[in-house]
């Protein structure tokens, strides 16, 4: 087999050295009844590289890739162009096949990348510090709520109705088991974010309010006002960013008073990948550092005085503190953090601002065209690259009919919020720098046809 270097002669020589007759003698601790006599039945035998490639390519061909059709989906995962050098660099074996950098003398490459990544995330979010990554935005969101509870010693969290419903589900699922009190405000199809409702829900038991920015329907909450109200009652503001490219155009949450900022970094360098692996971002105020989850990379010197980097403050972590750790997280999203960091290094702050401007301009062009269709209106007039369209009928059906016409036309609010009352006609539409005028026109024509009831 091509991945197994031992030859038959090697195996015989090694067994002799060990003093065993057969390899099965090495499995004597396994009870006889549990040992399988041969390969598991009902599964195929090994296959050549060519045969496996054929099999996998056939499966891939059954999917409609985003690049093969006019594409307008967002809802927490965005299609951006990733420069070729990003994917080339993350496939260098020294990055791809390295382990967690626990041996810093021979892991300075990974460690320096993590230090640069932490700095980039902190500057992007407007926070003092950031960690070396989490699994994804939704799990980072739950960890932020736990951290807020540790910091404030309170156990009640308020979730804005504009929080991505999957994030809300993750939080509510976990809270069921930990007895944290979660107040979920309703999602409403109205023009403005639910700032007033969030502020009204804050009381003296509230550890944090969780607000998405821009929110799941594309609206932009007034973080400064919410931060002020939260701080007045001793609560923290957790801001959630699912589209970090937006921060090239709109103010950083940390600058507006958010105490913890978490998010999904998939937009920058990582790609869609059908939902994973993604990249959890986690930034906060420096004074909370010992309450943070996840790995942290810090600067130090070696015995010769040369600058170097190490994983630090590990006493927060599971491998040292076991049941008293701040989180059980071990493996995170190192390679996705590298991709994010390379892409952001290529862009720089000015490049990110320009990219954000282009995204916003493409979204404007999209909504200008689509709202010319009879019966279609735009819910919110402040948006970044994604907003909610209100259609004259159930958007779930419209999305399916558009797919029959080879258009990937957004995410219906009905799929995101199956229990949501009054959201059925909402369609979440995103545009990015990859959206062409032709895409917009094709989408508009097919949407018109679908709404007129024409058959595909």
């Amino acid at each position: 087999m091509r991945y197994l270097p031992l030859t038959l002669a090697d195996r015989i020589a090694m067994l002799a050295k060990i003093g065993a007759d057969t390899v099965d003698d090495l499995f004597i601790d396994v009870p006889e009844a549990a040992r399988l006599a041969g390969p598991i039945e009902g599964l195929p035998a090994h296959a050549s590289e060519m045969a496996v490639e054929r099999h996998m390519s056939a499966l891939a061909a059954k999917n409609m890739s985003a690049g093969s059709a006019p594409f307008f989906l967002g809802a927490g995962a965005y299609r951006h162009h990733v420069p070729a050098s990003v994917d080339h660099l993350i496939q260098r074996g020294e990055f791809l096949t390295a382990y967690t950098p626990y041996q810093p003398e021979i892991a300075q490459g990974t460690l320096q990348v993590l230090f640069e990544f932490q700095t980039q995330v902190a500057r992007l979010f407007g926070t003092d510090i950031a960690n070396a990554s989490m699994y994804d935005g939704s799990t980072a969101c739950w960890e932020a709520i736990l951290m807020a509870a540790r910091v404030t010693r309170r156990g009640r969290s308020v979730l804005s109705g504009g929080l991505h419903p999957h994030y809300g589900e993750v939080v509510r699922t976990m809270a069921k088991f930990t007895q944290d009190d979660i107040v979920s405000l309703p999602a409403k199809m109205v023009a403005d974010a639910d700032d007033a409702a969030v502020i009204a829900a804050i009381d003296d038991k509230t550890s944090c309010v969780v607000v998405q920015y821009p929110d799941v329907m594309g609206r932009i909450p007034d973080l400064a006002a919410i931060a002020e109200a939260a701080h007045a009652r001793g609560a923290l503001l957790v801001a959630v960013v699912t589209e970090p490219v937006a921060l090239g155009l709109i103010e950083a949450p940390g600058v507006l008073g958010a105490d913890i900022v978490v998010g999904e970094g998939q937009s920058i360098g990582v790609g869609l990948q059908f939902g994973g692996p993604y990249l959890g971002l986690f930034g906060c105020r420096e004074k909370f550092v010992r309450q943070m989850p996840g790995r942290l990379c810090g600067e130090t010197v070696d015995v010769e005085g040369k600058r170097g980097f190490v994983l630090t403050l590990s006493t927060r972590e599971q491998h040292i503190r076991r049941e008293k750790a701040t989180s059980n997280i071990c493996t995170n999203s190192g390679l996705c953090a590298l991709a994010f960091s390379i892409h952001l290094t290529l862009l720089g702050g000015e490049g990110l601002a320009r990219l954000a401007g282009i995204n916003h301009a493409r979204a404007q062009a999209t909504f200008e065209r689509l709202t010319r269709i009879p019966g279609v209106s735009l819910m919110n007039d402040a948006y970044f690259n994604e907003a909610t369209l209100i259609l004259p009928r159930d958007a779930r059906e419209v999305v399916r009919e558009l797919a029959d016409r080879k258009v990937l036309g957004g995410v219906s609010l009905g799929r995101l919020f199956p229990q949501g009352e009054g959201l059925r006609n909402g369609l979440l539409v995103a545009a990015t720098e990859t959206t062409t005028d032709e895409d917009i026109e094709a989408f508009a024509l097919e949407l018109e046809a679908v709404l007129e009831g024409a058959s595909a």
Binding site: A58, R79, E94, T173, E299
Partner: protein, 532 residues
């Protein structure tokens, strides 16, 4: 000691670590230093060509606009490629040599996996596309799920957990949900002393109290002590099998029966599944839940610390509680994605949702590619070769390095040594750092906690005999030097991009972000650390 590499390249250095002369650049031949990207970049550089936006922001956005661009310097493409390539050369990696990390299964990462994961039909697909446009993606999940279920002899699998520890959490939440469904409040989880730190951390994270179970002198779970702790308050036990001492727990079935009889569940940490894949099915041993690290047993790359994936196989008893989303195959053979939207269709007991979207698809395609390459017969050979390699290391070094459980019989996929018997003042750390000078990544050190100065060596099946002989030669040489009191070991490594780093300073005065101005070097200055 050995002249295996007598003709190989060696840096011509004087006394250990002392260069005979200094260079102007701070680099020495191919030993390259690299400044931070912030020190190299500037705000007027960009490696992506972007035309300015063709319109002003909509008026509703005015009050939200940034005052200034984020303070992040940019680099052009050639500078970026060079920066990261130079940094990469300061990393050890599987592509360079063995990574003998016990409990971590650092095996070769086949490049076909990477190629397949990058097919546009997998890489460029959005998780919320209509189901009829993603049938191939659902089939990948379903096929991988089927392999995992069959290989483990379990009833079902939850695919969405993002890593091993996340999978542990999933398994314990299934246990909690099952207990809730029975109307029972059990709040204790038993965890052996030798367990990974994630086990007790996960149990606490899921709201359980953790009670520790001691190990026997033979390095196995003390079954009598475990049975004595069982009772109406015990939700379950977390067992690693093969365990972190590298030994199979022969009493697994007996433990499982006792736990079940007492009304609890058995969680198995599947980190060491590589030792038994295709040889033993955990389902035959009474396991109720087990996570599988796709980045260990199934060769998806570690990437310097992730991403991984941690699907959890479940027994009949726990299967109904698996979290959303998941894929099901209908009677007509069609595959469906079950998420909130259609969760009421007979999946009412799902305990909730653990992640946004559907899990680590990019890892599923890689793992499925690997599994299809090996097939059922190849995976069995994987386990056999992994165990053979570990025993070969054990029997080749036990005369020089104490192996505390060598008399317990063969080890499984990893060999455990201790630093007892080295000269006064010499420890596992010296051996580990000495291995770096020998051109190897150290083994797992000071774990498991049940052995003082533990060294846990897991070669994996992708090391050749010749490669193992080189590693064994180095390990023996280091043991001899440490027994002879060779003081130079205390200052190892001498031949790495950095010498021993001051971890105390890093923790006492944490510097977690660069605080300088873009394009302006921070401390120390560029001339001190070199630069490009």
């Amino acid at each position: 000691m050995s002249d295996i590499n007598a003709g190989g390249w060696r840096p011509s250095m004087g006394e250990a670590g002392d260069a005979k002369f200094t260079t102007f650049s701070g680099d020495y031949g191919l030993m390259l230093e690299e400044a931070l990207s912030f020190e190299l970049g500037s705000s007027d550089k960009c490696g992506v060509d972007l035309d300015p936006a063709d319109r002003a922001p909509v008026s509703g956005l005015n009050k939200f606009l940034r005052k200034a661009a984020p303070g992040l310097p940019g680099l052009t493409e050639p500078e970026t490629v060079r920066h990261y390539t130079r940094l990469s050369r300061q990393n050890y990696a599987i592509d360079l040599g063995p990574f003998p990390l016990g409990s971590c299964t650092m095996k070769h990462n086949p490049r076909l996996n990477e190629k397949m994961a990058r097919l546009p039909g997998f890489a460029d697909v959005h998780p919320m596309q209509p189901q009829k446009t993603i049938e191939g993606a659902l089939e990948v999940i379903e096929q991988l799920a089927d392999w995992l279920i069959t290989l483990t002899g379990m009833a079902s699998v939850a695919m969405s957990p993002k890593a091993g520890a996340h999978g542990e959490l999933c398994g314990l939440l299934c246990i909690r949900a099952a207990l809730d469904a029975r109307g029972e409040k059990r709040d204790v989880v038993l965890v052996p002393e030798s367990a990974h730190g994630t086990n007790p951390a996960t149990a606490a994270f899921a709201g359980f109290k953790v009670e520790s179970i001691p190990a026997t002198p033979e390095g196995r779970v003390d079954v009598a002590a475990l049975k004595a702790k069982l009772g109406p308050n015990v939700a379950g036990v977390m067992i690693t099998n093969p365990n972190t001492c590298g030994l199979f727990e022969p009493d697994m079935k007996e433990i499982g029966d006792a736990v079940h009889a007492a009304g609890g569940y058995v969680y198995c940490d599947g980190a060491n599944f590589n030792a038994i894949v295709g040889k033993v099915r955990p389902g035959d041993l009474g396991v109720d839940a087990m996570h599988i690290n796709l980045h260990k047993t199934f060769s998806t790359p570690h990437g310097g610390g992730g991403p991984g994936a941690g699907p959890v196989v479940l027994s009949e008893a726990l299967a109904p509680f698996a979290p959303l989303p998941f894929v099901t195959r209908g009677a007509d053979g069609s595959i469906h994605l079950v998420e909130e939207e259609n969760a009421s269709e007979g999946h009412a007991q799902a305990f909730g949702r653990m992640v946004a979207f559907h899990g680590q698809m990019g890892m599923f395609t890689r793992a499925l590619t690997y599994i299809l390459s090996h097939g059922a017969d190849g995976l069995r050979q994987v386990a056999e070769d992994a165990v053979l390699n570990a025993n070969y290391v054990l029997r080749s070094c036990e005369d020089l390095l104490p192996a505390p459980f060598a008399d317990s019989g063969p080890c499984m996929h990893e060999a455990l040594f201790s630093d007892a018997g080295l000269a006064e003042g010499f420890t596992t750390l010296d051996i580990a750092k000495g291995l770096i000078d020998e051109g190897f990544h150290p083994m797992t050190v000071y774990f498991p906690l049940v052995v003082k100065g533990a060294m846990l060596v897991e070669p994996t099946e992708t090391e050749s005999k010749a490669g193992l002989d080189r590693f064994i030669g180095s390990l023996r040489s280091l043991a001899e030097r440490a027994k002879a009191g060779d003081q130079s070991l205390h200052s190892a490594p001498h031949f790495a991009p950095r010498r021993r780093l001051d971890e105390t300073l890093a923790a006492r005065k944490p510097v977690l972000v660069w605080k300088g101005e873009p394009g302006i070097p921070g401390t120390p200055s560029l001339s001190e650390i070199g630069g490009s």
